[in-house]
Symmetry: C2
Subunit: 483 residues, 2 copies
């Protein structure tokens, strides 16, 4: 046959149904797979044809073969983020409504760089970002009806960069002054802060990593001292990032004290709650955002813990002017009456890329399907499971907690020392039964158990603990007890 036809509507329906069914079966059967892929580097590529096909395999006929290849080649090469025994990193959970929202976005295929290029893409996004203010009880200063507003970014890294570019814009007028810009973050802040400093052309040696307290949260007094010293030295305090829920241990920096210390200097206050923000759907956890009304910008990632596919970071500014000054550019080919009227939001001025897809649909679908009540139910379940796991750790003579457990992450260690802990993580991950990652706190190796996948239930947490206990017993027996 003559290859290269577009897929007919009937064939798209048929293959689309088949793929939906495949995804449902994949998610139904996900526990049959080892959580962590066992392939070696190059194993996947070796199974793919070395060159692209000269003649296509029309999906109208060949889609079963495509799905078979997904099963044969791709699935063994996946580390299954949606597996209920995925306890690594932070979650990147998803849900049926979110997958449907992403599918709809792909199906519509609109590009919302400007309001004019699909008004619904912009307006639904603005509306969902205002809904999130209600859902999380965020400060009104971020609502789009005032001088601030929200936008979806791909990630908290990009949000941090945008915050820094806005802060830089507000702090200095002349390029020559960039060398005097200083940036502050906890020693436990995410690596994206240091990366943003480098990207923005600021001096990496002007990034002050502020010491943390015993709970691994930034010491506001140390920040205030450093800030004062920099002001005395004639430097320009440009941005401080307060982390609500650090990656290592979900430590919660004291936003109010940090913002208060920063206030007199004009230093931009960015609050990064990438993982933790979702906890605020539960009113009893809104204390994590105490002082947020004093911040200049804020972000959290629905794509981590709020059942919304990656990528979806909600980024807010209290005053959008600096951000727009930093990022806006209107060449002739983007001019249009709506933009000229000043009555609309053009989100291309709020982000690094120019183009953007309709990501708000999945957020809408998630909030509409679950409602605030449903989201609270699931988030509370994760929070309860973390306390349950922490209790298992506490009750075991060979293990100890390595940090407070304010949210859904448990940092713990075997009393047998660094090698034992590293060996436990390695063997657990090799077992296929669960996936754990590690960090360092006070220089010591710490195992992280992060609970937040959509299908994680008590039985998965209990099974994980049994596996850890068994592996520890084997490792401890080999290495000798050093507790």
């Amino acid at each position: 046959m003559d290859d290269g036809h577009h897929l007919s509507s009937a064939d798209f329906r048929a293959q689309g149904h088949a793929l939906v069914d495949w995804i449902a079966a994949y998610l139904d059967g996900i526990e049959a797979h080892p959580v962590v892929s066992r392939v070696a580097p190059g194993d996947i590529r070796r199974q793919l044809p070395p060159h692209p096909p000269e003649h296509g395999e029309d999906f109208a006929e060949h889609f079963p073969q495509v799905l078979a290849d997904i099963d044969r080649v791709v699935v063994p090469g996946l580390t299954h983020w949606q597996h209920p025994s995925f306890f690594a990193y932070f979650p990147s959970n998803t849900s049926g409504p979110s997958i449907l929202g992403e599918l709809l976005s792909a199906g519509l295929g609109v590009q919302g760089m400007l309001w004019a290029t699909s008004p619904a893409c912009t307006e639904v996004e603005t509306h969902m970002l205002d809904w999130l203010i209600d859902l999380l009880g965020l400060p009104e200063v971020f609502r789009s009806t005032g001088p601030g507003g929200g936008v979806l970014q791909d990630s908290a890294s990009s949000a941090t960069l945008c915050a820094l570019l806005a802060a830089r814009e507000r702090a200095v007028d002349a390029i020559a002054d960039l060398t005097r810009c200083t940036v502050y973050a906890s020693e436990h802040a995410h690596s994206s802060v240091a990366r943003a400093v480098r990207i923005a052309g600021l001096d990496p040696s002007n990034l002050r990593l502020i010491p943390a307290d015993a709970a691994y949260a930034m010491r506001a007094d140390a920040f205030a001292d450093t800030l004062a010293a920099d002001v005395r030295a004639g430097l320009v305090p440009t941005m401080v990032t307060a982390t609500v829920g650090t990656t290592s241990s979900t430590a919660i920096d004291p936003v109010r004290a940090i913002a208060t210390a920063a206030a007199s200097t004009g230093c931009w206050v960015h609050v990064d709650a990438a993982l933790a923000g979702t906890a605020a759907v539960c009113p009893e956890y809104r204390w994590i955002h105490d002082g947020l009304e004093l911040a200049d910008s804020y972000c959290f990632n629905p794509h981590k813990w709020m059942f919304t596919n990656f990528d979806c970071d909600a980024f807010y500014v209290a005053d959008r002017r600096s951000l727009l000054q930093a990022l806006s550019a209107t060449p002739e080919y983007l001019r249009n009456p709506a933009t000229a009227s000043g009555e609309v939001i053009d989100y291309r001025d709020w982000q690094i890329p120019l183009g953007r897809r309709f990501r708000a649909l999945k957020l809408w679908f998630v909030m509409r399907h679950y409602g605030a009540h449903g989201l609270r139910h699931h988030i509370r379940a994760h929070l309860d499971l973390a306390q349950h796991f922490a209790q298992l750790v506490r009750a075991h003579p060979d293990f100890e907690l390595a940090a407070p457990v304010p949210l859904n992450l448990v940092c713990f260690r075997h009393r047998g020392g660094e090698d034992v802990n590293a060996e436990i993580v390695e063997r657990c991950n090799a077992s296929g039964e669960l996936y754990l990652t590690h960090t360092r706190l006070d220089g010591r190796y710490v195992i992280r158990c992060s609970i937040g996948q959509t299908q994680t239930r008590r039985r998965h947490v209990d099974a994980a603990w049994r596996q850890i206990e068994q592996v520890a017993a084997a490792v401890g027996g080999q290495s000798g007890r050093r507790g």
Copy 2:
């Protein structure tokens, strides 16, 4: 009922099938909609509930209502990028296989920041980027098996920024030297170049916009002169962007001459072929990339013209070291044996964000479904339609071409002057029958007709021209002929 349940597998299948059918029907019936949305600012938001629901509407029961709301609220607010009479900007075309690839990516829900976090996500991506080298006949220097390699970015804007960060890394060691960095691009280069300069903390006054020749391509002699003057002045030539297919008129900068001029200075050569690159699937168009083997980096967007959903930009570097030096960071919580082995690619070091989804699936699906043969067939059809449209313009006494037509964009104008042309665009877009945008060339208003949507056929181009003729006759009659 108790709200907040996760969608069951059976319900996901049922609602997924319904959504696939909805998308098929949307695309089947897309010509019934006005291409350009007619809503006014705020129209969409007014139809949405002011606050998120406290209790969810379980999609198992309520999905028909959700789809009805999409029809009622969202669709009227769309400017339909997949409409065959969308001739605005550049295309952002898509296809059944690509939509399926995006759906699969959402369904798998893996996050490929590291090779270890899903080896298939990284390896399929690397493989597809190597396939694109075959498909487009790109220089071998970009293949992953050497010191270079490719990565998917969200957009050409981000690719340009990454190229500049790598170039900056290679050009200067000390932060204080950033003020001496100079950047070069044609006066017709995309606004993302100026934006990248600002983001990277370079001096906007050190961006040299090089004059273009009569065909709106960068004058290599003028570039060489400016470069030499900057070197004499002790400045540091950091990057030149050669545009293959400018946004205004698809002018093609002379890559070979530009790269040759840059060679002795160490200036990084980035080639931005965001739209035009896809033309090189046809061997007879590979001349657009003449000299590309001399470049340090290159990008083109399958999400523009290659039937692949936004976002999907293919970005290549000839030597990945500077890029990795500019962007890599390995905090403890991202350390893992595969990364430590040095045998794998960790794409988080190749981009601005940390996280990333499995975007290579849609590229794989597109290349596999169409094959090189099928893609060539469709791209040639667009190229032929552009020549056909250009001929219609040439044959009309009141219109003239405003630029050469090397690819799929026709720049033209009515002889009646600026106001007549602006009025033609406004009325055509208000008609709902087509969507045109404009630019300026030599200071004069120019209408752009960009041909590249998946379903655009000759009848759509002919209908567009008839509409333009009719509107022009009406406008010309009102404004008086000034030709």
